[in-house]
Structures are given as structure tokens and as C-alpha cells.
């Protein structure tokens, strides 16, 4: 019995603050709510970031009898989740000021529950913990999506996400049940030991079902149906959180589960995952070409990015972990910046999501227009921005492991996606527009500009992220032995 509760102090802090906020919400008068709760939650997330930073160590640490394992890999993912949570709080403060919502307190503490769920998801090294934390993150996201008054798009998106997400969760549980039936344990380490002696056929069944569950959550192609509607329908700060925190944590959990247990018979499943990756990156890129709504376009581009990340699973485990951590690092900041920008532009209602209303933005706000260029070019993968380095390392990993065909398809998909990433830029700089003036709130402005600055700075100094990713990789490999 070793509990080691201190390892989970960031999660416990966030849960405690969230439960406290439930009670505080009942006695606070309505006009102070937005300010008070945004301050409390941003301070809580900030303290959690410091706590997580102080706990990162290259030596893997276990808590709750090995149900939670925290390596530097998990620490990095936790930091990314918390940063996107912090930016979401900043963005939502201004968003809530403009929108009708009668559940302000509920919004903020549900947001904290999403963060707790995502952090536990990245930390879990046991099947039931994985499932419960995945559900905490997902159910809180469904609630967040449908909280705004009169927002029927959001409610529709939430229902679609809920139904498809439940199917995904059911598949995941079926896979877990098969895995448990085969090995008789739920701890990853023990499953991995038992799995090496088993024949690959039943393991393939488990691998297929578990991969399907995770592909649902990350939105790869056969399971991507909910993504465009959910991304477009959700209030923009919630889309930001879904696109960054939940997705990053789901990828981390996927890696943590998949590499120790299923990598010893990679030859059996790599073709299937490769096909899914190629189809995702192409269909995401092609479907995005004709979208007028920027949020919907970014949803399709998220599908394309998912395909690119999944392609990496075909290289060796070490290269996979390194390039996925690098890519997720870049992807988090790009997603936060892109959706932050859309939140600012939709200050006058729903219009900022339509690409027509981006006309002539340069004459209204040059700084935001220039950051839009950085964001979209980084998503497309143009040097010297951070998105380029993410794609570069993925291509390097694929070529090193001999998957040249896959590398070429990543390149072609990026080339196609350049068209729709350039479209907003064209509208901003080259079209005359009228449109009303808008006054961005301080929080969303800071969030967008800071994450855009991160895109540019990390793009110029990619070795910083590379060092961090190598630290994550080494501690991850150490936790396997």
C-alpha cells in the first residue's frame, strides 16, 4: 500500500477549489460572479501550474498503488492542459460578459473539472482510472457546451458529441474488458508483461476496440462525424478547451496505454492505423477547403492534424513519443491562439465566425491581423513558426523508420491545407471590408497575443521544445522498464 497523495496535489487543489466554488456560487450576487469566479479559477490554475512544475522529475513516480504514474511526459502534458485551461478562463471571462448565461459559476467550476479529468487522464496507468477520468473530462465538456442561454447550436453540438462520445466510450470499455479477460489485471505494467506471452489475435481485438475508443475522442476519420458540428456549435472558449486540453490528454493516454501493451506486435496493426491516418489527413484537408465558417474549417483542420499525429505511431516507440510530444506542444498553442482570435472577432455576435466578416481586418486592428498570419501559417507548417518544426520532426521520424510513402502523404496533405489556411489571410489583407468596429476584452487579447508570441518564439527556438520532449521521452522509457 503506497498512497503518495502528494503527487496528486495539483488535481486535489483544483477539485477542492471547484467544490468550494459550487458552494460559493450559491451565495454570491449575480453581478460579481463573472469577475470573482474568473479570478478564483485563474489563480487556482496558476497555482496548479506551479505545483505541477515543482513535481516534474525524470524519475517516474507512482501514486495510489500504481493507478497513477507521473513521469516528465505526463508533467509536460499536464502543463499544456493547465495552460490551455488558463487561457480558456481568460477568454471565457470576456465571452461571458457579452453573452446571456444564467450559469456563470457552473461554467467556471465545470471548466476546472475538465482540467482535473484531463490531467488524471494523462496520468492514469490503470484501466478503470483511465475510463473514469476520460468520462469526467468528456461529461464536463458536454455540460460546458450546452450552458449558454438560447444557444441552440451549442445544445445540438453537445447532444451529437454526447451520443457519439458514448459510443466511443462503450467501444473503449469493451476493449478494456477483453484486455482484462486476457490478462487478469488492470495495471498497464502487469498487462504488458502478460501480453507478451499471448498470441496476437485476441490482443488485436482489444487493440482495435481501444484504438477505436481513442480515435473517437481525438476525431480520426471513420469516427470524426461529431467534430465539425461540435466544434462549430460549442461556444468558442469551450471549443478552445476541447481542441487543446481534452485532445492533448487523450493523445497522451493513448500513447501511455498503447506503447507498453501493444507495440510488440506492431506489424499486425500498423497497416490499419496507417490507412486511418492517411484517410484522416486527406479528408480533413479536403473537406476544409470549401468552408465559410472559420470554426468549422478549423474543426476539419483538427481532423487533418489528428491524422498527422496518428501517422507517427507507425515509427518506433521512441520516435513516436518524441515527435508526438513536440507536435502536441506546438498544437496546443496554435489551437489556443486560433480560437482566441475567433472569440475576439465574434465580439459582435456570431459574425466573426464567418470568413466574410474578416474582410479588411488589417485596417481595423493591425496587431491582430499579423498574429492571424502567424497562427494560420503555423497551422499550415510554414517555417520559421512552431508548426513547421512539429511537422518536420514527424516527417523525420517517418523517414527514419522507412515509412516514406506516409511521409509523402503528410507533405501533400499539408500542401492542400495551405489553401484554406491562406483564405483568412487573403480576406484580412486583400479584401476591402466595412463591418463594425469591435473592442476586444483584455483577457482574450492577452491569451491570443501571448500564445501567438509563443508560436513565434518557440518557432525561432525549437531546441527548447526538443529538449523538453527528449526529457519527456527519457522518463517515459524509464517508466516502461
Amino acid at each position: 500500500m503506497e498512497l503518495n497523495v502528494g503527487l496528486l496535489s495539483p488535481e486535489i487543489l483544483l477539485t477542492g477549489i471547484a467544490v468550494f466554488m459550487i458552494l460559493l456560487d450559491l451565495i454570491t450576487p449575480k453581478r460579481f460572479k463573472n469577475k470573482l469566479f474568473s479570478v478564483i479559477s485563474s489563480v487556482a490554475v496558476g497555482v496548479a501550474i506551479i505545483l505541477t512544475l515543482s513535481k516534474i522529475s525524470p524519475i517516474p513516480q507512482k501514486a495510489f498503488n500504481g493507478f497513477i504514474t507521473k513521469e516528465a511526459f505526463t508533467g509536460i502534458i499536464d502543463i499544456l492542459v493547465l495552460f490551455s485551461g488558463l487561457f480558456t478562463v481568460l477568454v471565457s471571462h470576456d465571452f461571458i460578459e457579452r453573452k446571456k448565461i444564467s450559469y456563470i459559476g457552473e461554467f467556471y467550476y465545470t471548466l476546472l473539472f475538465v482540467l482535473v479529468g484531463a490531467m488524471l487522464l494523462a496520468g492514469s496507468s490503470e484501466l478503470s482510472t483511465l475510463f473514469v477520468s476520460l468520462e469526467v473530462a468528456s461529461i464536463s465538456t458536454y455540460i460546458l457546451m450546452s450552458l449558454f442561454k438560447g444557444d441552440y447550436r451549442g445544445k445540438e453540438g453537445a447532444l451529437k458529441y454526447f451520443i457519439t462520445g458514448s459510443v466511443g466510450a462503450a467501444l473503449l470499455v469493451y476493449g478494456m474488458a477483453v484486455l482484462y479477460g486476457l490478462t487478469g489485471t488492470t495495471l498497464y505494467g502487469e498487462i504488458a508483461q502478460a501480453a507478451e506471452k499471448l498470441s496476437p489475435l485476441p490482443l488485436l481485438l482489444a487493440a482495435g476496440l481501444i484504438a477505436a475508443g481513442f480515435l473517437f475522442k481525438t476525431g480520426a476519420v471513420p469516427f470524426h462525424g461529431w467534430m465539425p458540428d461540435a466544434y462549430e456549435g460549442a461556444p468558442t472558449p469551450v471549443t478552445l478547451l476541447m481542441g487543446s486540453a481534452v485532445k492533448v490528454a487523450a493523445f497522451a493516454a493513448f500513447i501511455k496505454l498503447f506503447i507498453p501493451i501493444f507495440y510488440h506486435f506492431q506489424a499486425e496493426w500498423e497497416k490499419a492505423l496507417g490507412v486511418i491516418a492517411v484517410i484522416s489527413m486527406f479528408s480533413g484537408a479536403l473537406l476544409a477547403l470549401n468552408q465559410r465558417n472559420v470554426k468549422r474549417m478549423l474543426a476539419y483542420s483538427a481532423i487533418s492534424h489528428t491524422g498527422i499525429i496518428i501517422a507517427t505511431f507507425l515509427s518506433s516507440p521512441a520516435l513516436t513519443v518524441f515527435s508526438v510530444v513536440f507536435y502536441l506542444f506546438a498544437y496546443t498553442f496554435m489551437t489556443v491562439a486560433a480560437f482566441g482570435l475567433i472569440t475576439i472577432l465574434s465580439a459582435n455576435g456570431i459574425k466573426g465566425e464567418e470568413i466574410e466578416s474578416w474582410k479588411g481586418l488589417y485596417s481595423k486592428n493591425p496587431l491582430l491581423s499579423l498574429s492571424a498570419v502567424a497562427i494560420f501559417m503555423s497551422l499550415a507548417g510554414i517555417p520559421p513558426l512552431v508548426g513547421f518544426w512539429g511537422k518536420f520532426y514527424i516527417l523525420l521520424a517517418l523517414v527514419k523508420s522507412g515509412e516514406v510513402l506516409l511521409a509523402v502523404s503528410v507533405l501533400i496533405a499539408s500542401l492542400i491545407s495551405l489553401y484554406f489556411y491562406l483564405k483568412p489571410v487573403v480576406y484580412i489583407f486583400m479584401k476591402e471590408g466595412t463591418g463594425e468596429k469591435f473592442i476586444p476584452g483584455a483577457g482574450e487579447y492577452v491569451a491570443t497575443i501571448v500564445s501567438t508570441a509563443a508560436i513565434v518564439i518557440f518557432g525561432l527556438l525549437p531546441e527548447v521544445i526538443a529538449q523538453i520532449s527528449i526529457m519527456g521521452l527519457s522518463s517515459f522509457l524509464r517508466s516502461l522498464t
Binding site: 467544490v19 459550487i22 458552494l23 450559491l26 477483453v178 479477460g181 489475435l201 485476441p202 481485438l205
Partner: protein, 121 residues
Amino acid sequence: MESYLTLLVFFLIALTVALLVPNINLITNKFLKIDKANREKFEPYECGIPKINPIKGSYFAIFYVVALVFLLFDLETVFLFPWAVSFRKLGMLGIAEAFLFITILLVGFLYAIAKGALKWD
């Protein structure tokens, strides 16, 4: 290998049952029903009494909320039964954890009361 074959067979049987059970009444209805379409068939309630006015507006849905609050206590009982069985083994830690669990549930209950979930008017 044979045991895995059993697993596969089980999977197929589960799939067949899952597909069949929800649809079995649809399939039998196809053959058994007496097909006489008339206007009353398309009413929302086929109770024999002519409808007075079309269904519009909101209706009283407090049952759902009460059911949700009931779920809170239901879950509490479900979790406390195994806890009570292994109470001696768990020791002080078990007591602390149970108290933590009930505190969190109580917060939810307080929220439900404060939001008027149990007010029946």
C-alpha cells in the same frame, strides 16, 4: 487458441442479440399488424378522446430533476455497501475516504436544494 474462438463467438452472439432485440418488435410488426391507416393513427396520443388543442409550450418536468437527485443517494448506497463490508480492513483511511465521499455528495445535495430542485409547485 480455442478459448479465443469462444471469445469471438461470444462477440458475434452479443452483436446479433444487440441488433436483434431492439428491432424484433419492428420485424414481427411487419408481418402481424393490421394495416388500416386513418387520421387518428397520426395523433400524438391514440387514446380515443379527441384532442382539445395542439401540444405547445413547456410542460412540467420536475420528475426528471427528482430522479436525478434520487440518483445521488442511490450511488451513495451503492458505494457504501462494499465499504461497510470491508470496513475493518480499511481502517482509519477508509473512514476518512468515506467522509470525503459523503461530503462531496452533500455539496451536490446542497446545490440541488438551493437551486430549488425539490420545490414542488
